[in-house]
């Protein structure tokens, strides 16, 4: 079932590519249908999922691949990956709906997105480092073509920068993986095996270097300060659905790597360097929020808030590495909050980028100051943007609060100095309210005049993302019941 969910989009992409002269309409609806079927499979998995025992996986599949180097096709699901698999399914459906009106090289676009969906799902399910790395690199390749091929502005340059920067990160990651392989006894790339043996138990210096390599690789992808400068141009010049996938799914590859690989496989090193990780998180939160505050371009602003939001995740996973006798609840809260934040940020930021795409599609501008009073011609657009903004700034009743409250409570519970990052949520509030005010209120002027309100396809695509954010914000148990057991297991793994 899991492999079916992973490879269905890829097979569909291959079929689409193989059939010559296929009409665009068929391509569009096939794309949407495949993403919907894939989501249905994932939802089915969600309902049949029961939390596996510590050290085990649900929906596990393993095939021989490269036995000589201890690598296999090994996929499986636990409470850390299932929410992200589901998120991936949802974001790609939203993109397929949003793209229903696109007319530009539909077949290639659909093929690339289906391909990207497969490799993203594969990454979240991967339980083998080589497999993880392969999927990690393939996402970069696919996204490069999406930005370069369908972007606007200085798309080629931004795409190249994105590619080179994140590819460099993946090389660092590979270095770390090879380090893990060499440090394990017997040598293996299998994540489950590695978690059992914990490499480098008596070699803190080597473990530190391996962690550094992995951390830098993941930090570039996440991205954290100071490795984030590829993000704003990539987002600004990417097409709307490209940005949505980039922010909604691909940034999570980095943060997911922390909880899947760095923390459980190198617990000693993680604990030793937890203070530095928390510090990087705090800087990312404050720096991202402050730089976002100064932006006048909607997409750049949202991009920098991603640095801020991913900073919370870094603080939480760092703080979860500070272990004491009484810290179990705080650690679990922090990790749970981090995973919820990945999901929440995925939904909300994807929605925000699709909304920004509406601006560009209608007026070819992202400039906050060129609009004004947009709420008059486009009330629905204004309402959606307001909900997305409030979700992003962490208002209760929406998913961001569930994430950020747990992150802060848990992180302050183990590392009281995490409270330094609290102003981050205040600055985020200020910048979103300022953006709302510039775009939507006051007299209708500039590019706002005669702006067409959201079309049904846009309402459906963005609305479904926001609706999920509300559901998580009000009834979080269905999500937390999946995450919490896995977070407890991870807290124990880090503590050994």
């Amino acid at each position: 079932m899991l492999s079916l969910a992973i490879f269905l989009p890829l097979v569909a992409a291959a079929v689409l590519a193989a059939i010559p002269r296929i009409p665009d309409t068929v391509v569009r609806w096939t794309w949407l249908a495949v993403t919907l079927v894939d989501l249905a499979i994932l939802v089915g998995m969600w309902f049949s999922y029961t939390s596996p025992q510590p050290g085990e996986l649900a929906f596990e599949e393993q095939l021989r691949w490269m036995p000589s180097v201890g690598s296999s096709y090994h996929v499986g699901v636990d409470g850390l990956s299932l929410p992200l698999l589901a998120l991936t399914g949802v974001v790609f459906v939203a993109c397929a709906i949003y793209a229903l009106k696109d007319r530009d090289r539909q077949k290639s676009q659909a093929g690339l997105f289906l391909f990207l969906q497969s490799v993203s799902l594969g990454l979240f399910a991967a339980q083998d480092l080589i497999l993880f790395f392969a999927f990690f690199d393939l996402t970069i390749v696919a996204m490069y073509f999406i930005i370069a091929g369908w972007g606007h502005g200085d798309a080629a340059r931004s795409a190249l920068k994105f590619f080179l920067y994140t590819f460099l990160g993946s090389l660092s990651l590979l270095l770390g993986f090879i380090g893990l392989y060499l440090g394990s006894e017997p040598h293996t790339f299998d994540v489950v095996e590695l978690a059992k043996t914990t490499p480098f138990q008596n070699a803190p210096v080597a473990a530190g270097f391996v962690l550094a390599a992995i951390f830098i690789g993941l930090a570039i992808k996440t991205p954290t300060f100071p490795f984030h400068t590829w993000l704003p141009p990539a987002h600004t010049d990417a097409p709307a659905i490209g940005s949505a996938v980039l922010a909604g799914v691909m940034l999570k590859l980095g943060t997911y790597g922390f909880v899947r690989i760095a923390m459980p496989l190198l617990p000693d090193a993680w604990r030793s360097w937890a203070w530095l990780i928390v510090a990087i998180g705090i800087i990312s939160v404050l720096y991202g929020a402050l730089v976002a505050l100064a932006q006048t371009d909607v997409k750049r602003m949202i991009a920098y808030t991603s640095v801020n939001h991913m900073g919370y995740v870094i603080i939480a996973v760092g703080a979860a590495g500070v272990v004491s006798d009484s810290s179990a609840q705080a650690q679990q809260l922090a990790i749970t909050g981090a995973v919820v934040q990945m999901v929440s940020h995925g939904l909300v930021t994807a929605a925000l980028f699709l909304l920004a795409g509406v601006l560009y599609e209608r007026r070819s501008s992202y400039d906050l100051d060129s609009f004004g009073g947009l709420a008059a011609p486009a009330p629905r657009f204004a309402a959606f943007f307001a909900v997305a903004a409030f979700a992003s700034l962490g208002l209760p009743g929406l998913s961001g609060f569930i994430a950020e409250f747990q992150i802060f409570t848990g992180s302050i519970g183990t590392v009281p100095l995490s409270a330094i990052a609290l102003p981050g949520i205040l600055i985020t509030a200020a910048l979103f309210l300022r953006a709302l005010q510039r775009l939507f209120t006051g007299a209708t002027c500039g590019l706002s005049v005669d702006f067409t309100d959201l079309r049904p396809r846009e309402v459906l695509s963005i609305g479904s993302l926001l609706l999920l954010s509300v559901v998580i914000g009000v009834f979080p148990r269905f999500l937390l019941d999946v995450i919490e057991p896995a977070a407890s297991v991870l807290a124990v793994l880090v503590g050994r």
């Binding site: 400068t229 730089v291 679990q332 609290l422 600055i427 509030a429 006051g442 937390l480």
Partner: protein, 628 residues
């Protein structure tokens, strides 16, 4: 406490969920329906509010407790105890009355207006009954967001939206305290139940207390946060009446009353709370006296009166604080609605232009007078008795606090008297400014706008019984605060005389107000200069750093990599590669030579073949000669 029979329990739980769920669901439905619900909005909203009043009474009697799983180790908990049994019905009644008034006055986008107001009502209900920190914070921040949306309700006007932004950001700065408190409570191992917080070990307990103080001061518009309430007056008058006096701002004071056990164990916190409350009452009282705009005057007075509630929490006088909170809610909602009625009718809220407005609509004028006299502390109206009960607690704690509190009470009489005398003054055209300076007035106040005023006026007159036996004894029993200090006869008489004296003094007097008082102690300006501007400056600098330094560094590294690659190529070319290159180029030259004869023309080829054959024959001949 919940009854023994299970169906009573079930009834209690159902009513409690109804209390928070009904306004939330109806409010969201109205907001989503938008223009489609324009006609339905007001009736549906008033009906909902009416049901909520009944439900609120029911939960006050049944005292239900509910808990559902929410976050790990921190359930979503609601409980009605003595304090919330008194506050919840009060807020429900004020909400109903305010919504009736708003329906009568009419508004643009009624569905959006009533929807937001009902969502706010749900958030207040959750705040007042919350039993865990996440539950409290959940509702606490939604109140703030609704305040933002309602202050900026007329969004075409940029300054109103800015007012909402200021209010939201300022109160959220305080809200950060609750995040801090939650983390500290967890670190201290106390759990996230509100009742457990006082049990946290020091120093965690102190951090929790500091966080709670920060949040409460922000919401209650206490020093140094008071200025946001001034900006909040850009909102419609019913919003000011409900959010910015009776309910949301009041919740700041309410939180401190609820957390009184925590304040008791963290002694520094109690002292801080008492003094912040007393000083807010005094300084914002002075600010109120200096205002020339009726709503600004009332806003400053709200902060000052909440100061008495905060003072009560600090000195442990829970009964006095709660009574004052309730009496003030009724009084101030009345005054704001009256101000709103005149604003709608006359198009102004400037005191100079409202001169004599009370005479034009005597019923409104009398109701306003009842509220103003209560605010002034005139015997036997409500705030006279409740304030003295608070001051009795202050006297027991410290004479200095009592003196400051008494001075603040005198200022209450001064600003209430100022408003009262101007509104009831003889209208004379040369003294009165023009109407319609802020909006176009309707020149009428409808009957359904007047009824709420009368109801609230009755409340403002009689609510003082809560502080006087026998009702006062029952009240204390409900709160479990039988031992709170009571004012002596001389204190009651003394404050009553003081109020009358001050009222007499301000009658007909016009003094030049100092600019620090008209400008709200320059708190807004100070915040701008000390916080907002530096943050904006820093954000600009960092944005430039990000582009010009960090990003450039990355680009240059990449460019450097390219340059290094070129250099490497060059070095290779100069070294071992050179020989290979030379060989290769020689071969290439030979190739070029070899290609030259290949012209593609047959006669050339024939000629070439002839030449080669001739050469071959010559070669053979030479070879044959040599061999021989």
């Amino acid at each position: 406490m919940s009854g023994s029979a299970p169906d009573i329990d079930l009834l209690g739980v159902t009513t409690l969920w109804l209390l928070v769920g009904l306004p939330a669901v109806v409010g969201i439905a109205l907001s989503v329906a938008g223009r489609r619900a324009t006609r339905l909005a007001a009736p549906v909203s008033v009906a909902t509010a009416a049901v909520i009043v009944v439900v609120a009474m029911a939960v006050a009697i049944l005292r239900p407790v509910v808990e559902v799983p929410f976050l790990s180790g921190a359930p979503f908990g609601l409980a009605v105890d003595g304090l919330s049994a008194l506050i919840v019905p009060t807020v429900a009644v004020v909400t109903l009355v305010v919504l009736v008034f708003a329906a009568a006055e009419g508004t643009e986008s009624p569905a959006r207006f009533h929807g937001l107001m009902l969502i706010f009502a749900a958030a207040v209900a959750v705040t007042a009954t919350a039993s865990t920190l996440p539950t409290l914070l959940f509702a606490w921040e939604i109140m703030g967001a609704m305040s933002y949306a309602l202050i900026g309700f007329r969004w075409r006007d940029d300054s109103r939206v800015s007012g909402g932004l200021t209010a939201f950001i300022t109160t959220r700065a305080g809200d950060l305290g609750l995040y801090l408190a939650a983390g500290a409570a967890l670190a201290g191992g106390a759990g996230l139940g509100l009742a457990d917080l006082a049990a946290a070990p020091s120093p965690w307990r102190d951090i929790v207390a500091a966080g709670v103080l920060l949040a409460a001061f922000g919401k209650a518009a206490q020093l140094p946060f008071s200025f946001w309430l001034s900006r909040a007056m850009e909102g419609p008058s019913p919003v000011s009446a409900l959010l910015h006096s009776a309910a949301m701002v009041a919740m700041g004071g309410y939180l401190l009353l609820r957390m009184e056990p925590l304040l008791e164990v963290a002694a520094w916190a109690a002292i801080t709370v008492a003094w912040v409350g007393a000083l807010t009452a005094l300084l914002l009282g002075a600010v109120a006296v200096a205002q020339r705009d009726l709503k600004q005057l009332l806003a400053a007075s709200t902060a000052a009166q909440l100061g008495f509630v905060v003072l009560a929490a600090g000195v442990g006088s829970v009964a006095g604080g709660t009574a004052h909170l309730i009496a003030h809610a009724l009084t101030k909602a009345l005054l704001f609605l009256a101000a709103g009625a005149w604003l709608t009718a006359l198009g102004t809220k400037q005191l100079s232009e409202l001169r004599g407005a009370a005479r034009r609509w005597p019923l409104v004028g009398v109701a306003f007078a009842a509220g103003a006299l209560s605010l002034a502390g005139i015997v036997p109206l409500s705030l006279w008795a409740t304030k003295d009960e608070v001051l009795a607690g202050a006297l027991e704690a410290s004479p200095a606090l009592y003196v400051v509190g008494l001075a603040a009470a005198a200022l209450s009489a001064a600003y209430a008297g100022k408003a009262l005398f101007i509104l009831w003054a003889k209208p004379s055209t040369e003294k009165r400014g023009p109407y319609d300076t802020e909006q176009r007035g309707t020149r009428r106040i409808g009957v359904w706008a007047r009824i709420p005023l009368v109801l609230l006026a009755v409340g403002a007159v009689i609510a003082g019984v809560l502080a006087v036996p026998p009702v006062g004894d029952w009240f204390r029993g409900v709160l479990g605060a039988e031992a709170d200090p009571r004012p002596g006869v001389w204190e009651l008489v003394g404050s009553a005389v003081l109020a009358l004296l001050v009222l007499g003094l301000v009658a007909g007097k016009r003094a030049r107000a100092p600019s620090w008082a008209t400008n709200w102690l320059y708190l807004g300006q100070a915040t701008r200069v000390l916080v907002v501007d530096p943050v904006l400056w820093l954000s600009e600098k960092l944005a430039r750093f990000d582009d010009n330094v960090l990003d450039t560094l990355v680009n240059q590294t990449a460019a450097g990599g390219m340059r290094a690659a070129f250099l490497a190529v060059k070095a290779e070319t100069a070294g071992p590669e050179a020989a290979v290159d030379a060989t290769a180029s020689a071969a290439r030259r030979l190739g070029v030579l070899a290609r030259r004869p290949q012209t593609g023309q047959i006669h050339h080829y024939y000629a070439q073949i002839t030449v080669i054959l001739a050469l071959a024959i010559v070669l053979l001949l030479v070879l044959a000669l040599v061999v021989r």
